[in-house]
Structure formats: structure tokens, C-alpha cells
């Protein structure tokens, strides 16, 4: 009797936590959609038709669902990357660069390794190699910033932005130079196609959604497990909340900072890697239109919780994917989607606005995402 009561209250507690944490984001989305609708009407469009297009285009058919999953895959990885860094008290703006590094690295292994070796590799070796190399390079790239933070105090916000420039311009250099696809008709800065053995197969024939999507969900669960069920995860969270207390408690703060950045970079690298091996089969300059920056928004909206990240990644993916259908039906500019996303973010970040509109009392606790500039 006693036990039953206890488990009941536990479930209640979990549900309570979920509803407490998702109320503000949910209302923020709702408000942004209403504001977006008013703006559509204001510029002479038809909000109902526009939103119908958006929903049809993202969930209306198997093909649409598949495309939404395709969009969601890099968003989940990159969102987790930023969220994990948030948990460790670090603001990783460099997901975009780490993503590019991962994509370049894995495409290099994907197309060049068989040439170097002189024979074809079986997929069971080649594909993991390509993915792992991309992940490692992404992690290494971010670990540099972690090291700078831990040992020199260089702020990770500045350094990740700077590393973005280095990564993106190096990518441009490589893709226009040694790694460029040399086929005579090609003028685009892109690598050759990767070998068949380095490709992630699609889940269903005829649809583009690939096993990388399932991997994204598994990784999201893995990150939740890591953060909440392991010693390392506890250390990351402790350093994120209060590095001084963490140090006092005997945690090696420097090691954890580097580790957090490396893990974050690995996840971002994985986003790039999976796009190459699962979808594009090559890396092309300009393929990633700001996944790394959208990822920050996704992590914020998901409150840095892996489940929240997955859900908000889906929301962003659905909006990006449905935008085509929306434009097709209403000829509204696709920039409108960016605007609605910006509104969502604004309302989540400045949650006082949402709390004021809907008269929600604050629970008195504040979500601390990063320790600000002085940290």
C-alpha cells in the first residue's frame, strides 16, 4: 500500500515537472504562432491557408514526415551539442564550425580512403570509420576551445566564434583546392561522392529518411543517461552550476570543462558527419545553412533537456520543411518562418512576457543556462 502510494506520487511528480517545464515554451510557441498569423494577415496573406500549408508540408504525408525527420536529424545532434555545453555552464556558439569540420573529415574518409588503400572496404568497417573520424575531429576542434578556457581563461563564446571563422574558411579552402571534385563538368566547391560503403542506408525505399535519424534519438537518450545517471554527468552539471563549489568538492574542473567542450564538439561533428554519410553523400560548400546557429535556439527552447531538444528540433524541422508547402500555397516568403522562430525564441528567452500575458506566477526558480561573461 505504502509503496503503491509512493510510486503514484513519483509519477505525479514527473508529470508535474514536465508540465511545469513545458508550459512556458508551449505558450511561447502559441503566442508566436498567433503573432505570426497577425503579421501574415497584415501583409495581405491568409494565415489559415499558410498554417495549413505548414502542417501539410511537414506532417501531411509519409513523404512529408520523412522530410521532417531528415531536417530534424542534424537539428537534434546540433541541439544536443549546445544543450550539453549549457549543462556544463558553457555557451558553445561554435557548433556551426564543428559541424563543418566533422563533415569535411568524414567525407574525406568517405571518398579518399579506398583510393589510398587501393581496394574497397566493406561497409561494416568503412562507414564507422568515416563517422568516427568526423566525430573525433569535431570533438578535437571544440576541445581546443575547452583547453583555452580551462588553462588561459579565454572565454568560450569569443573563441568558438573565432574557431567558426577558421573552420569555415579552411573548409572553403579545402573544397576549392585539394578536396574539390575534379570531374570536368563540376564548377561547384564540393568533394567527390563518397563510396557506397560509407553511406548510411535509408530506412524505407523511396524515402530519404535514413538510420541516422534513429541514431539521433538513441544519442539523445544516451546524453540524458550520461547527464543524469553517471558520475561524469553529475560532475558536468556541478561544474555548470558552480565551478567553485565543484572544485571544493574535489572535481577536476579543468578536466571537466575540456571534456564538456569535447563532447559538445563531438555531437556537433556528428551532425555534420551524418548529413554527409546519410543524406548528401558529399560535402558541399554552403550545405549547412546555419544548423549550428539554429541549434542554439533549439537548445534554449528545449531548456537544455535532451527530450526537450528532440521535441524542439522536431518543431524547427517541421517549420523549415513545411515552409515549402506554405510558400507553394500562399506565396508567402519563407523568411516568415525565421520570423516565427525568432518570436518563439524571444518569448522563451524573455519568459516574463509570456508569464505576464497568461498571468502565470513564477515558481521563484530561474533556469541558469550559462554563467555569463565573467564566468
Amino acid at each position: 500500500m505504502q509503496e503503491e502510494k509512493q510510486s503514484n506520487s513519483l509519477i505525479k511528480q514527473i508529470l508535474q515537472t514536465i508540465s511545469d517545464n513545458s508550459l512556458v515554451p508551449f505558450l511561447a510557441i502559441l503566442t508566436a504562432v498567433v503573432v505570426g498569423g497577425v503579421i501574415i494577415a497584415f501583409v495581405g496573406g491568409n494565415p489559415i491557408l499558410a498554417y495549413r500549408g505548414l502542417i501539410e508540408g511537414s506532417f501531411g504525408s509519409t513523404k512529408a514526415l520523412s522530410e521532417t525527420a531528415v531536417w530534424a536529424t542534424p537539428y537534434i545532434f546540433a541541439g544536443l551539442a549546445v544543450a550539453l555545453a549549457f549543462k556544463g555552464g558553457l555557451f558553445n556558439i561554435g557548433a556551426e564550425g564543428q559541424l563543418a569540420v566533422g563533415a569535411v573529415a568524414s567525407s574525406l574518409i568517405g571518398y579518399a580512403l579506398p583510393e589510398w588503400l587501393g581496394y574497397d572496404l566493406p561497409a561494416i568497417i568503412h562507414l564507422p570509420l568515416a563517422v568516427l573520424f568526423g566525430v573525433l575531429m569535431g570533438g578535437l576542434w571544440a576541445a581546443i576551445v575547452g583547453w583555452l578556457k580551462a588553462y588561459t581563461g579565454g572565454h568560450e563564446v569569443i573563441n568558438t566564434i573565432m574557431m567558426n571563422y577558421i573552420a569555415l574558411n579552411t573548409t572553403s579552402f579545402l573544397l576549392n583546392g585539394v578536396m574539390k571534385d575534379r570531374s570536368p563538368t563540376n564548377v561547384i566547391a564540393r568533394t567527390p561522392l563518397i563510396a557506397d560503403s560509407a553511406r548510411i542506408p535509408p530506412i524505407f525505399d523511396g524515402l530519404r529518411v535514413h538510420w541516422g535519424f534513429i541514431l539521433a534519438l538513441l544519442v539523445a537518450f544516451g546524453i540524458w543517461w550520461l547527464l543524469n545517471k553517471t558520475t561524469v554527468g553529475f560532475q558536468i552539471r556541478t561544474v555548470g552550476l558552480n565551478p567553485d563549489a565543484a572544485k571544493y568538492a574535489g572535481i577536476n574542473v579543468k578536466r571537466i570543462i575540456i571534456l564538456t567542450m569535447a563532447l559538445s564538439g563531438m555531437l556537433a561533428g556528428l551532425a555534420g558527419t551524418i548529413e554527409v554519410t546519410g543524406l548528401n553523400y558529399r560535402h558541399e560548400l554552403g550545405f549547412s545553412i546555419g544548423y549550428g546557429y539554429d541549434a542554439i535556439a533549439i537548445a534554449l527552447l528545449g531548456k537544455s533537456h535532451p527530450l526537450g531538444v528532440v521535441l524542439s528540433a522536431f518543431l524547427f524541422a517541421a517549420m523549415r520543411n513545411g515552409a515549402t508547402r506554405m510558400q507553394f500555397l500562399t506565396q508567402m516568403p519563407v523568411d516568415l518562418i525565421s520570423m516565427i522562430q525568432a518570436f518563439i525564441l524571444l518569448f522563451v528567452a524573455a519568459d516574463a512576457i509570456v508569464r505576464y500575458i497568461y498571468r502565470i506566477k513564477s515558481k521563484g526558480e530561474r533556469v541558469v543556462l550559462t554563467r555569463g561573461w565573467g564566468g
Binding site: 505558450l27 502559441l30 498567433v34 498569423g37 497577425v38 494577415a41 491568409n46 494565415p47 489559415i48 491557408l49 498554417y51 513523404k63 522530410e67 531528415v70 572553403s172 573544397l175 576549392n176 563538368t185 564548377v187 561547384i188 566547391a189 543524406l279 548528401n280 558541399e284 560548400l285 554552403g286 550545405f287 545553412i289 523549415r320 515552409a323 515549402t324 508547402r325 510558400q327 507553394f328 500555397l329 506565396q331 516568403p333 519563407v334 500575458i357 497568461y358 498571468r359 502565470i360
Partner: protein
């Protein structure tokens, strides 16, 4: 409970506002019907109002509607290269009769879509075909002719006898044709007037394909350095890169109407050829006066 009522009330009001707006929904024509002629356009990663080839192509499609050729015209702007196929399929699945894909980048996706939708006619702007693709008409233009005209005009107008051109990457054949045509045009005018004009042509080939047409800062810098060297006419050929030149300094700004995309017109395009080469190669009658005005009017 109070806040719940408030939320519900707000929702109801919002939905009422939305339905009120929705009442005036236009009835979409069904493109799958045979008698309804529909034209869809998919842009490259870019916008429909880019003052360059996306815009020119869309204006052409709109004109087809104004002229009564097409019943329905629609466009989709691509925001990520991975959506090329999806955006084309949007029109293909809706039963459109003609799909225009704008830009070299969509070449592969267009060829693939032509195989998927054999009953649809595709028009690929700036899409060179190494092997003929069934169902796709690739549009390629004599950009060298336009470049020639601009070069000749610039050389004739220039008082310092120094002229320049700021272009996107010469890896893209049309851009290269603009630049080389420009040089040839200046040389022609020199030969005609007995002048010696110094020509600076700079291609923005030092950056990637993603940036070469969208770098107005570089364009402005390069144009400025040309003017510092005494150039008094500068030609821009490279999308946005050429868009923001030299408002700050006196000097002529020569631009064709929309980025680097001339309007194909056989009567016009034979004009510079006729000047360059033997008339016998181009037996069609040429009307040069008509050609000019379109090019330099802005």
C-alpha cells in the same frame, strides 16, 4: 483556474481572428486538369527579388501569365540545397505543366526530376547539358555579346581612358564570357576611335562558390581601388557582389538590368557578332539601336 479561462479566451479570440482572415481564401485552380496551364519556378538558394537571375526568370514567368499563356504561376524559394528535389517535386506532384529551375546548381536535381515526371516540361536556366536530357530545355545565353556592348560603350565614354569590371568567379562560364566580352568591346571601340584604353577586369575567384556572388563589400572595395587608379567607368557582373558599387564616388556605373542575365533576343544578340566578325556569319538582320537601349537603361 482563472488563468486557464484567460488562455482559453485568448485562444478563441485568436481562432476567430484567423477564421475571419481566412474567409477570403482564393479558390486555387487545379493544375492537374489538362486545360489549366501551370508554370512553377524554383529558385536557387536565394530570393525571388535578388535583382539578378532569380528575379529575371520570375518576371519572365509572370509575363507569361500576363500574356495569357499560363493560367497559374507559382514560385518556391530554396533555402537549403538539400531541398532542390523536394521543391521541384512540390510542383511535379501538383500536376504543373512547366517547371522552371533557376541556376546551375539545380542542374542535377532537374535532370533527375525530368526522369521522375516525364510529362512535365523543364526549363533549366543557365544549365549546360553535356548530354541531352529528355524533357529539359537548358537556357544558355551569349553573355559575351552583352559584355562586348558594355565594354565598347565604356571605352567610348571614358575620359581618363581607364575602365574596369568587377565580376564574380570566372569559373562560371557566363561570368567569364561577360568579362572577356568587355575586354573585346573596349578593344573594338579603341580600334574605331584610335584611342588606347586601359582595361582592368577582376574576377572574384579567390573565394568559394557560396560567396563569389554575394560579396558586395569586396565588390565595393575592388571598384574603389580601380577608381583610385583613375578608372571612370566600372562594369559590375556578379550578382550581389556587383550590386553595391560606387555611390560614394563620381564615375559611371554600368550595369545590365538584372545581374548577369541578359534577355535572350535573337535580333539583339547578333549585333556584336556582326561587328566582331564577318557579316556573312550572321545572315540575320541586326537591329543594334534597339539592343542598346534595353541594356543601358536603368
Amino acid at each position: 483556474m482563472k488563468k486557464l479561462y484567460f488562455v482559453m479566451a485568448l485562444l478563441i479570440v485568436a481562432s476567430m481572428v484567423l477564421t475571419a482572415c481566412g474567409a477570403s481564401a482564393p479558390t486555387a485552380e487545379d493544375c492537374s486538369k489538362e486545360e489549366v496551364f501551370c508554370v512553377g519556378l524554383v529558385t536557387d538558394v536565394g530570393k525571388i527579388n535578388d535583382k539578378s537571375f532569380n528575379q529575371s526568370a520570375w518576371e519572365g514567368v509572370q509575363k507569361s501569365q500576363a500574356d495569357g499563356v499560363a493560367d497559374v504561376v507559382q514560385f518556391i524559394e530554396t533555402s537549403d540545397a538539400k531541398d532542390y528535389a523536394k521543391n521541384i517535386a512540390q510542383f511535379g506532384d501538383a500536376g504543373y505543366d512547366v517547371i522552371v529551375t533557376v541556376g546551375f546548381g539545380l542542374g542535377e536535381a532537374t535532370a533527375a526530376a525530368a526522369a521522375t515526371y516525364p510529362s512535365v516540361r523543364f526549363i533549366g536556366v543557365d544549365q549546360f547539358q553535356a548530354e541531352t536530357v529528355a524533357g529539359v530545355s537548358g537556357l544558355n545565353f551569349p553573355e559575351d555579346n552583352a559584355g562586348f556592348l558594355v565594354g565598347a560603350l565604356a571605352a567610348m565614354m571614358s575620359e581618363s581612358h581607364k575602365i574596369g569590371a568587377v565580376c564574380g568567379t570566372d569559373v562560371v562560364p557566363p561570368v567569364w564570357r561577360f568579362g572577356e566580352g568587355y575586354k573585346a568591346g573596349a578593344a573594338y571601340a579603341d580600334g574605331m576611335n584610335g584611342t588606347t584604353t586601359e582595361v582592368f577586369v577582376v574576377y572574384h575567384s579567390d573565394v568559394g562558390f557560396d560567396k563569389t556572388f554575394t560579396d558586395p563589400e569586396w565588390g565595393a572595395q575592388t571598384a574603389k581601388s580601380m577608381m583610385d587608379q583613375g578608372a571612370d567607368a566600372v562594369f559590375g557582373c556578379g550578382g550581389l557582389t556587383a550590386r553595391r558599387h560606387y555611390r560614394r564616388r563620381p564615375g559611371w556605373r554600368l550595369r545590365h538590368r538584372r545581374g548577369h542575365r541578359p534577355v535572350p533576343d535573337p535580333a539583339r544578340s547578333c549585333f556584336p557578332h556582326a561587328l566582331l566578325r564577318d557579316e556573312a556569319h550572321h545572315p540575320r538582320s541586326c537591329r543594334p539601336d534597339q539592343g542598346h537601349q534595353r541594356w543601358f537603361h536603368r
